[in-house]
């Protein structure tokens, strides 16, 4: 019924688009324009990964690179200057840079013929470990989505350390940017935006506020669906956490930043960022208490009323929830830090 197009044309088109977008993003002098085009470039990469069939990676790239990351860059540009200054240096310098970059590119590309073929069953990745996962994943963990079971169960340590990396990124931004100004310690009169004159905030808009109020509950519901359904469809903890964080960032940018700060204060926010990692680690410890190795969810079957494979499935779900919590509040904390330049009172 449907005409079957050869898939390689789609891939070639996307590769051309990616290169075009990258060149455009790098050649725009105005940083805001470059930031926005960079977000579109990120989404082209997501399309390439979706074209290759790696839907989980594509989902994460779309959520992080094309969504939240662009907002972070815009917040940073808001607090710093918005021009790329022209670098001093004559034509010889630029020629030297061009030669170095070309040599590095040729050197990297010369390794290309040594790659195994696309989907080669004899390549090292596909011949040794992958058949075990493909054959035994459903029997061991009752999780049809192989990516989730490999990520959270067979390679659980790596995911724990990735979550810690997200946590460290949040702490790093917090510790670099956060300044306690003297003004925040004195009694500042609480500006009630409801009684302030309407022209106080230049970006106050009823339409944007109402549309955001409409969309945020759906975003959060969809993100919870993505976390919980990660066993059967592309998704999981990271993607759902990023979309949850993005919903809170949407509230922060369509209403005022003070609106979010009134509800999520600094100390509970930081504690919640840490609690996701703690949940992940606690699940591992609970496995040790019930007699297995660290992060061996199968030993939880003495606690949970299921057999061993379902216990692993539930363990994966608990771990994904932990990851989602950490990522969600990390996104919000990073946005508040970047947008208000560390002062935690006003911002983008």
């Amino acid at each position: 019924m449907m005409p079957s197009l050869p898939i390689w044309q789609f891939d070639v088109l996307l590769l051309v688009l990616v290169v075009l977008f990258a060149v455009v993003a790098l050649s725009i002098r105005n940083l805001m324009g470059a930031a926005v085009v960079f977000g579109a470039y990120s989404f082209m990469m997501c399309l390439i990964w979706a074209g290759m069939g790696a839907v989980d990676v594509a989902f994460t790239e779309a959520a992080v690179g094309a969504g939240v990351s662009t907002v972070f860059i815009v917040s940073t540009i808001y607090n710093t200057s918005a021009t790329m200054r022209s670098r001093p240096g004559g034509i010889a310098f630029k020629l030297f840079i061009g030669v170095v970059v070309t040599l590095a590119g040729v050197f990297l590309l010369s390794a290309l013929p040594d790659f195994p073929d696309w989907g080669d069953p004899n390549s090292p990745a596909n011949a040794t470990v992958a058949p075990y996962y493909i054959e035994n994943s459903i029997r061991d963990t009752h999780v049809p989505n192989l990516v989730t079971s490999v990520l959270a169960d067979y390679r659980g340590f790596d995911t724990l350390l990735e979550t810690i990396v997200v946590f460290i990124a949040c702490i790093a931004i917090y510790s670099i940017l956060r300044i306690e100004t003297a003004k925040s310690k004195t009694d500042e009169p609480e500006e009630d935006t409801a009684t302030a004159p309407p022209s106080y905030d230049p970006s106050d808009s009823l339409i944007v506020r109402q549309a955001s109020r409409f969309m945020v509950p759906f975003m959060q519901l969809f993100a919870l669906y993505v976390i919980a359904h990660g066993h059967y469809s592309p998704g999981g903890g990271f993607q759902g956490g990023v979309i949850l964080g993005a919903s809170l960032i949407l509230l922060a940018i369509s209403f005022d930043l003070k609106f979010i700060l009134r509800q999520w204060r600094e100390k509970p926010l930081m504690l919640l960022v840490a609690s996701g990692v703690c949940l992940y680690a606690t699940v591992g410890l609970a496995c040790m208490f019930t007699g297995g190795n660290y992060l061996d969810y199968g030993s939880l079957d003495s606690v949970l009323p299921n057999d061993r494979a379902m216990a692993r499935s539930h363990g994966i779900l608990l771990v994904e929830i932990g990851v989602g919590i950490t990522v969600m509040f990390s996104m919000l904390a990073i946005h508040i830090n970047l947008a208000s330049n560390g002062r935690f009172d006003r911002g983008l």
Binding site: M1, S203, S205, I207, A211, M215, F218
Partner: protein
């Protein structure tokens, strides 16, 4: 049902062509955004409606899939014009000059 899907998708593509031409040819930022937003939203809604019809012809009707595409249509229908409003407001506050007929 299949013919309906193709009609909808091709109509959406025609509108998108109009959007692109408008985006390239209009002299002013405000008129460009006007063309881009209306044509873009409408063409996306039409193409996605065509996708729902296509999906319903492949085997039995997958209601969840159709519902999800309907949700995408819903968010684009509400989100894209609001984003246009916000950008128009930003352009106005930032001081972009509207094009006048005599000042070429």
């Amino acid at each position: 049902m299949e013919i309906l899907a193709y009609i909808l998708i091709s109509t959406g593509l025609i509108f998108f062509l109009g959007t692109t031409i408008g985006l390239l040819r209009f002299p002013d930022f405000y008129s460009r955004m006007h063309a881009a937003s209306k044509g873009d939203t409408l063409s996306t809604v039409l193409i996605l409606l065509g996708c729902i019809c296509l999906v319903s012809t492949q085997g039995e009707m997958n209601w969840l899939l159709g519902l999800k595409i309907l949700l995408i249509i819903n968010f684009i229908f509400i989100g894209s014009p609001t984003a246009t409003h916000a950008m128009m407001d930003a352009g106005n506050k930032a001081g972009a000059e509207p094009w006048k007929k005599d000042s070429e």
